[in-house]
């Protein structure tokens, strides 16, 4: 049983927790741009938080279900509708065989998530169901979704209870918050730069931004050295500054090693906020301590665990 892709959307991909253990071979980790929203979507349909979901961006897809299902949509508000009737975000939605789910243009944020009860019936490629990048691969995980694709689904693993609940919209205020202060850790080459020319100002997200990297525009960061960096490990959230002084934040599909010096690293608890920034929007940076970063991350993990516990009750 499958979902049929009637319209692909701008860039729709399949993402689970990512391809861990293969960076040594040069593979990107990938995974959702907004892991928090993806995990909540899964929890809402009684999946494990890291189950594979469909990630959509800016313009959503149109999908027809060829079996009964339950879905939840989180993240960017893309005016989701089911058979042309508007549906709510962040709650489980019952789907009947033949129903058409449509997501339109993003009104808030940039990345949306569709979790499907039971998950997707796809084989792992190198331990993950995340869409591969920078490598040729036949099959659904080798490229973004396109019209005519059939995504195989697992069977519903639950009987459908009354679906009259969801999670509070306030969990997702980071998507619309106009104060986009991004907290970061000092990077390995921070002393190569005049940090004041990075921190105390506004940066605008360029339209040349995607799952690999977010480019920032503004008055360039001042470099204090002409030193060249030998390539070294990089990861999601690394803030690289090339010779032109305009930072590039490496995102979920970023490469595992890179040769640009790094002024900082966005803390993991703020990666979702960065990901949901729309081109043209302004962000600012604030340096924090390692302890602050892990405290924030642990709080976020505890929140997910608590929500998972509460939501499980709903399905008993």
């Amino acid at each position: 049983m499958t979902i049929k892709v009637l319209e692909a959307g701008l860039h729709s991909t399949i993402q689970d927790a990512g391809r861990h253990g293969y960076q040594t071979y040069g593979f990107a980790v990938s995974g959702p741009m907004d892991e928090f929203a993806a995990q909540i979507a899964n929890i809402l349909v009684h999946n494990e938080p890291d189950e594979a979901v469909i990630e959509v961006s800016f313009i959503g897809p149109t999908l027809q279900f060829h079996q009964d299902s339950i879905v939840a949509i989180t993240g960017s508000d893309m005016s989701a509708n089911l058979n042309d009737q508007a549906i709510s975000l962040a709650r489980p939605i019952s789907i009947k065989k033949g129903d058409i789910l449509q997501l339109r243009t993003a009104k808030t944020g940039a990345y949306g998530y569709i979790a499907i009860q039971g998950g997707l019936k796809l084989s792992d490629v190198l331990g993950s169901k995340s869409t591969l990048v920078r490598v040729t691969h036949n099959g659904l995980l080798g490229r973004p979704l396109k019209v005519g694709d059939s995504i195989p689904l697992q069977r519903l693993s639950v009987t459908v209870p009354s679906l009259d609940w969801g999670v509070a919209a306030s969990l997702f205020t980071y998507i619309t918050d106009s104060n986009r202060m991004i907290r970061y850790l000092e990077g390995p080459q921070a002393e190569w730069f005049d940090v004041e020319t990075f921190e105390d100002k506004e940066w605008q997200l360029s339209t040349h931004s995607n799952r690999m990297g977010f480019r920032l525009e503004g008055e360039p960061v001042r470099l204090l050295t002409k030193e060249q960096l030998a390539s070294e490990a990089t990861s999601f959230g690394a803030i690289q500054v090339p010779a032109n002084g305009l930072p590039i934040i490496l995102m979920a599909d970023g490469q595992p090693t890179g040769g640009y010096p790094k002024i900082g690293q966005v803390i993991r608890a703020d990666l979702a906020k960065v990901s949901q920034t729309r081109p043209g929007s302004v962000i600012r940076f604030q340096r924090v301590s390692y302890k602050h970063a892990i405290d924030q991350l642990d709080q976020q993990k505890q929140l997910i665990a608590a929500l998972q516990y509460i939501m499980k009750e709903k399905w008993l």
């Binding site: 253990g21 040594t24 030998a230 070294e232 892990i294």
Partner: protein
């Protein structure tokens, strides 16, 4: 050795050229990979980055392991495979060879001889899946990257950038100077145990083949020892 936490779950150790050779760096990585508590160990030219789980291990322990390995000089170099990689250096496949001849005042044969002479060491893979970063390029061939990166570099393209030489395992954008192309497949992603032909610590020699040999190339024609 400089130690730096670069994210919530990663610590990077940076060495100076005097501290350690690239072979030792690879040997340290191979030892660390045997530690079950570590998630991933990623080498660079002068760095080792370790991804770890904060709940299981403190990064101090990782630092101590590395210091002891280096101080005790207990770094037998695990012998990697030696790969012989055929490369067609003829004009159809060597789109920047003419530029290199002009830049270095060398003939095509001199460039090919210089490029096929060394036994290269694979320092690490990065940029894209299976892309090898090699050390051992003859300084006479050091060439800056192209000012304008190409939007498409063909699969198998062999290039030079600065002091580095490498191979593009899949077609991609790229700014390296392309001096040839190999018909060998560097990706084996159906094999989760080893999804790439080349591994950090392996060695590599290039040998020239003709355009006809390139076109008729059968993967079995390659050999590794």
């Amino acid at each position: 050795m400089k130690t730096k936490l670069i994210s919530e779950n990663a610590v990077m150790f940076t060495f100076s050229d005097q501290d350690i050779t690239i072979e030792q760096l690879i040997a340290v990585r191979q030892k660390l990979c045997q530690q079950p508590d570590l998630l991933e160990v990623i080498n660079g030219y002068q760095t080792i980055t370790v991804y770890f789980d904060r709940q299981n291990i403190h990064y101090d322990h990782i630092q101590t392991w590395i210091e002891e390995m280096i101080l005790n000089d207990k770094l037998p170099m695990a012998i990697g495979k030696l790969h012989h990689i055929p490369v067609c250096y003829e004009p159809d496949y060597a789109i920047d060879l003419q530029d290199l001849m002009t830049y270095h005042h060398l003939t095509a044969k001199e460039i090919i001889d210089l490029h096929t002479a060394p036994t290269y060491q694979i320092a690490f893979l990065g940029f894209s899946p299976g892309f090898p970063f090699l050390t051992g390029l003859d300084p006479k061939l050091y060439t800056p990257r192209k000012e304008r990166p190409r939007t498409t570099v063909p699969k198998g393209a062999v290039g030079i950038a600065g002091h580095q030489t490498g191979i593009y395992p899949a077609s991609s954008p790229g700014g390296w100077q392309i001096i040839g192309q190999t018909p060998i497949d560097l990706l084996t992603i159906d094999n989760p145990e080893q999804p790439t032909l080349l591994l950090p610590g392996d060695q590599l020699v290039f040998y020239p083949i003709s355009k006809e040999e390139f076109q008729n190339f059968n993967q079995k024609g390659a050999f590794s020892s």
